[in-house]
C-alpha cells in the first residue's frame, strides 16, 4: 500500500485526553468523535486535515488512557497514517487493531516538517519526503502484526483464525 499526503506535525507526549477529551466519550460513534478530535490541542486540526492526512509526531504519541476512541477519532478525521519517534503502547495496539497504520521512525519524525509531502510505501518499508528529497527506511513490523493489518484489523484476523467469517463482510452478528 502506498500513501501520498501532506504532514501535520505535533510534538512529544500527545495524550489521549487532547486527542479526544473525555467529555465526548459518552458515545462511540466515529463521526461524532471526529468532530472533536484534537480540539484542546490544535483548534485548526479539522481544517488542516482537509489537505494533510499524515500525522508526524515526536515521542510517546497517544500516552494516557486506553480509550480506543482516540485512534478511531483520528482515523474518522481522514488521517491515513501516523509516524512517530515512539508510541505509547496501548495507543499503538489500538491503532493497529482498528487498521490505522502506526509507524515508529525516529529518523523520519526528526527530519519531516509540517506541510511536507510524503510518499509512504508500507510494503517496501520506505518513507519518502518529496518536499526535501529525504528517504527513511522503516523497520518491518513482526509478521503477526502485519497479518492483523493485512486482515483489516484484529477482529477480522480473529474471525479468520476462528473460522467465523461470513459473507456479510463483518457487519452481521453471526
Amino acid at each position: 500500500m502506498i500513501i501520498r499526503d501532506k504532514v501535520i506535525k505535533y510534538g512529544s507526549n500527545v495524550d489521549t485526553d487532547v486527542i479526544i477529551p473525555a467529555r465526548y466519550l459518552n458515545t462511540s460513534k466515529e463521526e461524532e468523535l471526529a468532530m472533536h478530535c484534537f480540539e484542546d490541542l490544535d483548534a485548526d486540526f479539522k481544517a488542516k486535515a482537509k489537505t494533510a492526512r499524515i500525522i508526524v509526531a515526536d515521542d510517546n504519541f497517544g500516552c494516557g488512557s486506553s480509550r480506543e476512541h482516540a485512534p478511531i477519532a483520528i482515523k474518522a478525521s481522514g488521517i491515513k497514517l501516523i509516524i512517530a519517534k515512539t508510541f505509547a503502547r496501548i495507543f499503538f495496539r489500538n491503532a493497529i487493531n482498528i487498521g490505522l497504520p502506526a509507524i515508529v521512525s525516529p529518523d523520519a519524525a526528526a527530519n519531516i516538517s509540517q506541510g511536507d509531502e510524503l510518499e509512504v510505501d508500507l510494503d517496501m518499508g520506505i518513507i519518502k519526503d518529496t518536499t526535501t528529497g529525504m528517504s527513511f527506511q522503516i523497520n518491518p513490523l513482526p509478521g503477526f502484526i502485519q497479518e492483523i493489518i493485512s486482515s483489516g484489523g484484529y477482529v477480522n484476523y480473529t474471525k479468520k483464525k476462528l473460522g467465523t467469517e461470513c459473507s456479510c463482510g463483518g457487519n452481521c452478528n453471526k
Binding site: 459518552n26 484542546d40 500516552c63 494516557g64 496501548i90 487493531n97 476462528l162
Partner: protein, 429 residues
C-alpha cells in the same frame, strides 16, 4: 509450542507469569506470545465499543462468564442521556451473557479499587482491562495491563490476548517513609525520575525494604500509576502483607511467582525513601514532580480526594486526620469520593464522613467522575484543582485552560484547609 525440555532462562515476574499463561517454562524478552487471561475488564466508556466488536467476531457467547468484569464507574451514576444509553447497552449485554461480575450502581465501586477488594483479581493472574489503570492489580503480584476495546473484545471471545514479553526495570526502595508520605508520593517521585515514557513497553518491579513495609493501599496507588511512566505492568511480589490482605477475600486458588535472584533487568533504580518529601506533580505531566513544601503560594479552587489511585481507606483516614475539627477554606470546593461502597461504609463507621461533611466537604458515591473530567467536579477556565488522581494532562478535569496538580491525600487535605497548596504542618498547629 510447549517444549519438553527448555533451557533455563533467569526470569523476572513478568516473564514468569506470561510463561505460565502460555504453557511455557521460560520466555525471552521481546517474544510475541498468545496467552490465556484470567480476567477481562471493561467499564461504561470502553465496554460499549468492546461489545460492538465482540458481536462482529461471531462466537455468540463469551469464553467464560466468570472471567469477565463489567463495572460502570466512569460517567455513573449516569450523568446524561448518552451515558445512560451506554450504561444500558453494557447492562443488557451483561444480563444476556449472564456475566458474574457485573456491578450495578449501589454495589459498584471504582473498578481498580473494587476488583481487588472483592477478591476477583489475585496473585499470579494475567489480567487485561480496557482501562489504562488496570496495572493496579500488579500490587497483588499479578501481571495486569490496560488495552483497548478491540483487545478486550477478542479476549472476551477467545480467552486470550497477545503480548510482547517486556523488559523490566527494577526499582529498589530503601529507608523509611517520612510522616504523611504514602505510596502516591513514592510513585510521583519515581515518575519524576523516569519521565512519562521512561518505562515505555516495560514492566516495573517495585521492591526493597520500604516496599515490604508499605501498606496494601499504598502499593495499589504505586502500581496504579505505572502507566504514567509508560509501563505495561507495575508489579510488587507477594509477601505477608499480600497474604493478610487476601485472607477471607479470595474465592479461588492463586499462584505465587517470585523473580529469579539472577533475573536480568533493563535498568535498576536505587531510591532512598529517607529523602522523599511529600510530592506534587505540576501541570501538565505526571512527571513534573516537586516537593510540596517548596511550591510557594499556589492558590487553588478545588480539592478532589478519590479515584482508583487514592480513594481507599488509608487515603480517607489521612484526610480525616488532617481535616478533623477544621473548616474547608471558604473559596474551596472540596470533593471526597470513597472508591467503593465498602470503603464508603467503613469510612462512615469510622466517623470520617461526618468529619468531612462537618468541615464543609462534599462526599460523593463512588465514581471516577472528576478525575477524567467526566462529571462531579469539572473545572472552569482558569481554575485550579489539587487532586489525588493520576493525570494532569491539558483539560483532564475540565476546561482546556484549567490546571490539575497531583498529590497524595495529606497535601490535598491540607490544601483544602489552607486554600492553597500546603503541607499538613501548615494547617495542624
Amino acid at each position: 509450542m510447549a517444549e519438553k525440555t527448555e533451557n533455563r532462562i533467569s526470569q523476572t515476574m513478568a516473564q514468569k507469569i506470561l510463561a505460565w499463561h502460555c504453557g511455557r517454562q521460560y520466555l525471552n524478552t521481546g517474544e510475541l506470545v498468545n496467552a490465556k487471561v484470567d480476567l477481562v475488564l471493561g467499564n461504561d466508556i470502553t465496554m460499549p465499543l468492546a461489545i460492538e466488536e465482540f458481536k462482529k467476531i461471531g462466537v455468540g457467547g463469551v469464553f467464560d462468564r466468570d472471567k469477565i468484569a463489567i463495572v460502570p464507574d466512569h460517567f455513573t451514576p449516569n450523568k446524561d442521556i448518552k451515558s445512560a444509553e451506554q450504561c444500558k447497552y453494557i447492562r443488557d449485554f451483561a444480563s444476556q451473557q449472564n456475566i458474574t461480575n457485573y456491578f450495578e450502581i449501589g454495589k459498584m465501586g471504582i473498578e481498580h479499587a473494587l476488583l481487588p477488594e472483592q477478591g476477583i483479581v489475585l496473585p499470579g493472574d494475567l489480567i487485561i482491562g480496557a482501562d489504562s489503570h488496570t496495572c493496579t492489580y500488579g500490587a497483588l503480584g499479578a501481571a495486569s495491563t490496560g488495552m483497548g476495546s478491540t483487545d478486550a473484545a477478542v479476549a472476551m471471545a477467545t480467552g486470550t490476548a497477545w503480548f510482547m514479553v517486556p523488559e523490566t526495570i527494577k526499582f529498589v526502595y530503601s529507608g523509611s517513609l517520612k510522616k504523611w508520605v504514602t505510596g502516591k508520593d513514592l510513585i510521583l517521585y519515581t515518575i519524576g525520575l523516569t519521565g512519562v515514557d521512561g518505562a515505555l513497553y516495560m514492566s516495573m518491579e517495585f521492591t526493597g525494604p520500604a516496599i515490604t513495609a508499605l501498606s496494601m493501599d499504598s502499593r495499589f496507588a504505586m502500581c496504579n500509576m505505572a502507566i504514567e511512566a509508560g509501563g505495561k505492568f507495575g508489579i510488587i511480589e507477594f509477601d505477608d502483607t499480600t497474604k493478610r490482605y487476601l485472607e477471607g477475600r479470595h474465592t479461588r486458588p492463586y499462584r505465587v511467582f517470585h523473580a529469579d535472584t539472577d533475573a536480568k533487568y533493563f535498568k535498576q533504580y536505587e531510591i532512598n525513601c529517607d529523602d522523599i518529601e511529600l510530592q506534587v506533580s505540576l501541570p501538565h505531566l505526571p512527571s513534573n514532580a516537586a516537593n510540596a513544601k517548596d511550591l510557594g503560594n499556589i492558590v487553588i479552587d478545588q480539592v478532589v480526594i478519590g479515584s482508583c489511585t487514592n480513594g481507599r481507606m488509608e487515603d480517607l483516614a489521612i484526610a480525616a486526620e488532617i481535616i478533623k475539627g477544621r473548616k474547608v477554606n471558604n473559596r474551596i470546593r472540596a470533593i471526597i469520593i470513597p472508591a467503593t461502597q465498602k470503603i464508603y461504609m467503613d469510612a462512615m463507621e469510622k466517623g470520617y464522613l461526618k468529619t468531612f461533611v462537618e468541615a464543609g466537604c462534599a462526599v460523593s458515591t463512588p465514581t471516577c467522575g472528576p478525575c477524567l473530567g467526566g462529571h462531579m467536579g469539572i473545572l472552569a477556565e482558569g481554575e485550579r484543582s489539587i487532586a489525588t488522581t493520576n493525570r494532569n494532562f491539558v483539560g483532564r478535569m475540565g476546561h482546556p485552560k484549567s490546571e490539575v496538580y497531583l498529590s497524595g491525600p495529606a497535601v490535598a487535605a491540607a490544601s483544602a484547609i489552607a486554600g492553597r497548596i500546603a503541607v499538613p504542618e501548615e494547617v495542624i498547629q
